[in-house]
């Protein structure tokens, strides 16, 4: 099952650049939450703070609290443990090119160790099924490289890889922006399916995509969370003029 995320007074810096300002947000469990905003508004930095990836950059710094199911990710958990519970999928599909499809999905499991090959295969098959890729790769998954797949398949492979370690939250940073419309709709259908088991946070520049997949939407601008509300409210009658100006294309 997915878990809710509570963010309070979150600030993030790169060196002296203050990127995120006092972000407070309650991301509901087992729903898709979309984050929108112009380039450089801080939305990608924000999701990278959710799984402690922001701090992997030596000049980056974070303050405030991020709680997953009540546990503080920064004070009560190691970064590796955080990333086991909060998986991430990036804009460009990034399968390991020298590994087979199976090995790609199994790579996260190998890091944890202690699993027999048979168990690993079962988990990988289940993850590929959940990522709606199994039917397309079931005859080739142990022979063919992950890089031999199409872009849309590679992205679903990356989703399967993230799901294999059984996270509670799946962060998706522009997961469909490099994909054609058919692959995009497969990813969107998948998000709909995955909500039953995971909490989804998706960063997107495509506002129609946000409107299609997410129950809740947050609008970021200049490092501030301007508005966070039900997606239907944001796209039909936002409370803040800046949100309205952005989604109607009056600036940006």
């Amino acid at each position: 099952m997915g878990a809710a995320i509570e963010v309070n007074n979150l600030n993030a810096w790169y060196g002296s650049n203050h990127i995120l300002h006092n972000i407070g947000i309650s991301i509901p469990a087992n729903q898709a939450t979309a984050l929108i905003g112009p380039s450089g508004c801080g939305k990608s930095t924000f999701v990278r703070c959710l799984n402690r990836m922001h701090e992997t950059n030596p000049i980056a710094r974070v303050s405030g609290s991020v709680r997953l199911g009540g546990i503080d990710l920064y004070s009560d958990m190691e970064p590796v443990a955080v990333r086991r519970r909060i998986g991430m999928v990036f804009q460009r599909p990034n399968p390991f090119p020298t590994m087979s499809i199976f090995e790609n999905v199994a790579s996260g499991l190998r890091l944890s160790g202690g699993l027999r090959r048979r168990q690993m295969e079962e988990i990988c098959e289940r993850s590929l099924r959940r990522a709606a890729l199994w039917d397309e790769v079931k005859d080739i998954w142990k022979k063919r490289s992950g890089a031999s797949l199409s872009g849309g398949q590679q992205q679903r492979l990356c989703i399967a890889r993230a799901l294999a370690i059984d996270p509670e939250v799946l962060l998706m940073d522009e997961p469909a922006s490099a994909l054609d419309p058919i692959s995009t709709s497969k990813i969107e259908d998948l998000i709909f399916e995955l909500k039953a088991d995971y909490t989804i946070v998706i960063v997107t520049h495509n506002m129609q995509q946000a409107a299609r997949v997410a129950e809740m939407t947050g609008f970021f601008l200049n490092g501030y969370l301007v508005e966070f509300d039900a997606t239907t409210k944001i796209f039909t009658n936002p409370a803040d003029k800046r949100t309205e100006d952005y989604i109607t294309g009056r600036f940006g």
Partner: protein, 222 residues
């Protein structure tokens, strides 16, 4: 400022609707004037204007549909296009009411003249004023002005009820005037409908600008 072409298209859609509004308003004014002056030639003008109003209704709907499909508008732009589609339908119905009134005026003129103790011009002025004010609220994007139109509807409804009471008594007491009383009764009902369409237009202006649904006193119930 981005999406310049889209916002120009919205401006053009608004202009088209204002042309449609002008045509519908002229039709209802002419129908009222025909009643007031017993000038049947004005009834011909109303009948002639109807096909143009219908054409314009289809053209505006098509433009709005194209913008919805091609531009996927959001928030105030989405509400604006929905409001335009609904106001467009109301204006077409105002045009239909004008035709109905002018047909009744023809019947009235064809029959023997009778004096009836009802003030149709006052009801007509009020209904026409509602249409004008609702359209002005649309032009200005002014929800406060639209709210004032809503309050006028009660007055029009009351005038119509008063006409109804008076004329039903006439039907009983003066059988020789029944035909003419019936025509005037129908004109009053048509004018009351015009007031209803103006009310709808005003509600759509409020929805467009504020995002609030005030139809059927929803706001009061919540």
């Amino acid at each position: 400022m981005t999406r310049i072409r889209f916002h120009q298209n919205l401006d053009e859609l608004k202009e088209k609707l204002l042309v449609m509004a002008g045509m519908a308003e002229q039709a209802i004014q002419r129908a009222i004037e025909a009643y007031r002056t017993a000038d049947v030639s004005l009834c011909d003008l109303v009948a002639q204007s109807e096909p143009a109003i219908n054409r314009m209704e289809r053209e505006i709907d098509q433009r709005a549909l194209d913008l919805l499909a091609m531009e996927q508008p959001m928030a105030i732009d989405l509400r604006f296009i929905l409001a335009v589609i609904k106001i467009n339908a109301d204006l077409e119905r105002v045009g239909d009411q004008a035709v109905n009134i002018s047909e009744r005026v023809r019947d009235l003129q064809a029959g023997a003249p009778v004096e009836l103790p009802v003030d149709i011009p006052r009801l007509a002025d009020m209904a026409a004023k509602m249409v004008r004010n609702a359209l002005q609220a649309f032009i200005d994007g002014d929800p406060a002005a639209a709210e004032r139109v809503l309050t006028m509807d009660d007055e029009v409804d009351e005038m119509n009820r008063s006409v109804y009471r008076t004329l039903t008594r006439c039907l009983e007491d003066r059988p020789e005037a029944a035909q003419q009383a019936l025509n005037v009764l129908l004109i009053a009902r048509n004018l009351e409908r015009v007031g209803d369409h103006a009310t709808n237009i005003a509600e759509d202006v409020i929805f467009w600008v504020r995002g609030a649904d005030v139809r059927h006193h929803v706001a009061a119930q919540n």
